[in-house]
């Protein structure tokens, strides 16, 4: 195995992991604060992705597509939070059940509106495309771009959570909801904003991801399952955990497919199974 090949596989793993992180970050953020296991996260991915595909095809601007996808997912998220989830606030099970219903409805509507043929965001149009070539080494620029975008978003999330006023409020909400309310923080509004942010992140993941993996109406469920695997491995509610879990799974996936191809299907699930047995709270989760 040559050095060039190894480096390629390393980048394959990291770039796929980066996409996984984009998908998982919004999910884990919402879970961390609101204790909602939002299965409609997969639906937000679909909304963001399909609208980005349509927008890029119409305007030939990748960045506009990304914006439209993120906003559309955020709007759907806002509607879900204000219109439905608010009615069952604080009751764990109805919250999850609602999001399952929403996932079913949106996936079916997407099939109806956009059809079932594979779709993707056209390459180029302002986003990096083509291959980066350095001597023997070639690598697709778009995959490097995904790594870059994810780094920016990940670091921004981390800093915002740690240092901004909003982050402080969110952290207060996570640690002690009643006390936060007592301090005069409008916790309902914080919930809404965090939920909308989570949805927007899923929309961004959809817009960027559909330039890498073609879309179909079932992509929502697939991406949701990936997100859940990542957060189970990383630890529910932890952004750091999601980052580490995502890259870990991306790398395991890339290298297993080369070294032990007969286990290719288990690259995603085996790590999760092991974590569930030996460290149920996840790598970065706090003990339950």
């Amino acid at each position: 195995m040559s050095g060039v090949f190894l480096l390629q596989q390393l980048l394959n793993g990291i770039s796929f992991g980066a996409l996984l992180f984009l998908i998982a970050s919004g999910f884990t953020l919402v879970f961390g604060l609101m204790r909602i296991s939002n299965l409609a996260h997969g639906a937000f991915y679909l909304v963001g992705a399909y609208l980005a595909v349509v927008t890029v095809a119409a305007t030939h601007s990748f960045w506009l597509g990304l914006l439209v996808g993120a906003v559309a997912a955020a709007v759907v998220g806002l509607g879900l939070e204000r219109g439905l989830l608010r009615r069952v606030r604080g009751r764990e099970m109805p919250e999850v059940l609602l999001t399952v219903g929403v996932l079913f409805v949106i996936a079916d509507l997407v099939l109806w509106i956009f059809g079932g043929d594979p779709k993707s965001v056209n390459s180029g149009n302002g986003a990096p495309s083509g291959a980066l070539v350095i001597g023997d080494f070639t690598y697709p620029q778009y995959r490097l771009f995904i790594i870059g975008v994810t780094l920016v978003i990940g670091v921004a999330l981390f800093l915002a959570q740690r240092y901004s006023k909003f982050g402080a409020i969110v952290r207060a909400g996570v640690d002690n909801r009643e006390a936060a309310s007592a301090l005069g923080i409008d916790i309902d509004r914080v919930f809404t904003w965090v939920f909308v942010l989570g949805a927007a992140l899923a929309g961004i993941a959809g817009a960027i991801g559909s330039g890498l993996l073609s879309l179909s109406p079932t992509s929502g469920t697939e991406m949701l399952l990936y997100a859940m695997v990542v957060v189970i491995v990383g630890g529910l509610g932890s952004i750091t955990g999601a980052a580490v879990g995502a890259v870990l799974i991306g790398l395991i996936d890339a290298f297993t497919k080369v070294l032990f191809p007969e286990f290719a299907y288990f690259t995603i699930f085996a790590p999760m199974g092991l974590v569930l047995v030996f460290r149920p709270q996840g790598l970065f989760g706090r003990a339950a």
């Binding site: 040559s2 090949f5 390629q8 596989q9 394959n12 793993g13 770039s15 796929f16 079916d108 099939l111 059809g115 079932g116 043929d117 594979p118 779709k119 993707s120 056209n122 390459s123 495309s129 083509g130 291959a131 070639t138 690598y139 697709p140 778009y142 995959r143 890498l212 993996l213 073609s214 879309l215 179909s216 109406p217 079932t218 992509s219 697939e222 996936d253 890339a254 290298f255 497919k257 080369v258 191809p261 290719a264 299907y265 995603i268």
Partner: protein, 425 residues
């Protein structure tokens, strides 16, 4: 309380057992199936179609509906002295649902024949049931064994060739181009094993050597690891056997990004360069070679006429499934047009087996004794039409391709079906 429940339970169960024991009445056990229905009312010929219209394969259902609508419109909704009535059922891309819907078509709608389903898992189950029920099944799935080790007198594959049948010629063609070594990448379930098996068997029989075989799990995951591996191999040609859909799109996009498309020639099976894929990936697919029994860019006047009519009617190019359901309709037409009384069951199956494929848009050939077409397989190349649309054009035709290629059917059937381990006849 518990004692009360147990007592009640005991009584209920006893009653139930008594009732159950009396149950066998001839009315019930006789044939609830097919034969007793009011099937002979006038001259209506009832056709049930099983198509995936929702869930992951939902796009196929739409294609089939349009192809069938066009066929019926062409016949004025009538064939010979028969008025055609079609009952559509959605399989939801799920074998269990497909089976339930097949039961409904037979037991409730009393259809005279069933067209479909498309997906391999659905096809095997539905074929098995319809055989038991004595209803003719015009299958549209590519699963090899449906007309091989599991062949049934009631099941005729009119809407597809077998997966391996479509890639035998690709292997032979690749060898004729002077390629000596090949690597393959196929989806890791029966359809991929069979597609690959066809290529490997024919390529090896023609003197080539297959050095590496990669198998990717059939879910929409990242294919970059496999493409990197293919890029590091030193082979003359790469064969791709995907089931179409997002996997094919992902393969082409990734292969293009990694420079594989310009490094090594690629040939593929029927579905990897499907119209839906070309629509998605665009110009990077230009020049791609594949093998199938259908080519939307075929300039044969009959096929070209079909494509033109479909396109003007629906605004899109007909897919493999639109084509296949149309040609299936033509086979039914051939039989009903000549029939005086209404043929059903085995008589209908036998009549359809006798159809000359030259009377359909498939172009030429016949059905073999296992109920599978022996007909033309086209080597196709993706080209750009005058209006800028990408289509699969015919560059070479292999006529009268059998599902056993050039091998002896008896020996072929004595071998196990294609799998990761068994690739070479």
């Amino acid at each position: 309380m518990i004692r009360k429940i147990s007592a009640a339970a005991g009584v209920t169960l006893a009653a139930a057992l008594v009732l159950t024991a009396c149950a066998p009445s001839s009315g019930l056990s006789g044939g609830g199936e097919a034969t007793d229905g009011p099937a002979d009312t006038g001259q209506t010929f009832k056709i049930g179609v099983l198509a995936p219209m929702t869930s992951w394969a939902g796009a196929i259902g739409v294609d089939m509906q349009q192809g069938w609508d066009m066929f019926l419109a062409d016949q004025g909704q009538e064939i010979g002295s028969f008025k055609i009535e079609t009952v559509w059922e959605d399989t939801a891309s799920d074998p269990d649902t497909a089976l339930t819907k097949a039961r409904k078509l037979v037991q409730e709608d009393h259809v005279d024949l069933v067209i479909g389903p498309v997906l391999a898992s659905e096809g095997l189950v539905v074929g098995d049931y319809l055989t038991q029920a004595g209803v003719v099944n015009l299958a549209m799935t590519a699963a090899d064994d449906l007309t091989q080790r599991l062949a049934s007198p009631m099941v005729i594959r009119t809407g597809s060739f077998t997966a391996s049948q479509m890639s035998f010629p690709v292997g032979d063609w690749a060898s004729k181009q002077g390629y000596k070594t090949a690597a393959t990448i196929c989806v890791d379930y029966a359809f991929g094993w069979e597609s690959c098996g066809g290529f490997v068997s024919a390529f090896t029989a023609a003197g080539g050597t297959v050095t590496n075989q990669l198998w990717y799990p059939g879910d929409a995951s990242d294919l970059s690891s496999y493409v990197s591996q293919l890029g590091s191999l030193d082979v003359d040609v790469i064969f791709v056997g995907s089931a179409g859909g997002t996997d094919s799109s992902n393969f082409f996009r990734t292969a293009s990004d990694f420079g594989l498309l310009t490094k090594t020639p690629i040939v593929s099976n029927c579905c990897t360069t499907d119209q839906a894929i070309l629509e998605d990936v665009g110009d990077i697919a230009l020049g791609q070679i594949s093998g199938s029994f259908y080519a939307e860019g075929n300039d044969d006047p009959v096929v070209a006429g079909f494509v033109e009519q479909y396109e003007s009617k629906f605004g899109v190019l007909p897919s493999l499934y639109s084509f296949a359901v149309y040609s299936t309709g033509q086979m039914v037409y051939d039989v009903l047009g000549k029939a005086s009384g209404k043929p059903t069951g085995q008589a209908l199956a036998d009549a359809i087996r006798g159809v000359d494929l030259g009377s359909t848009i498939i172009g030429s050939g016949s059905l073999d004794e296992y109920g599978n077409p022996v007909g033309p397989v086209f080597i196709r190349q993706v080209v750009k039409r005058a209006d800028g649309k990408l289509v699969n054009a015919v560059i070479e035709t292999y006529d009268d391709v059998s599902q056993f290629w050039t091998f002896d059917p008896k020996a072929y059937l004595a071998n196990p079906p294609f799998s990761q381990e068994f690739q070479q006849q």
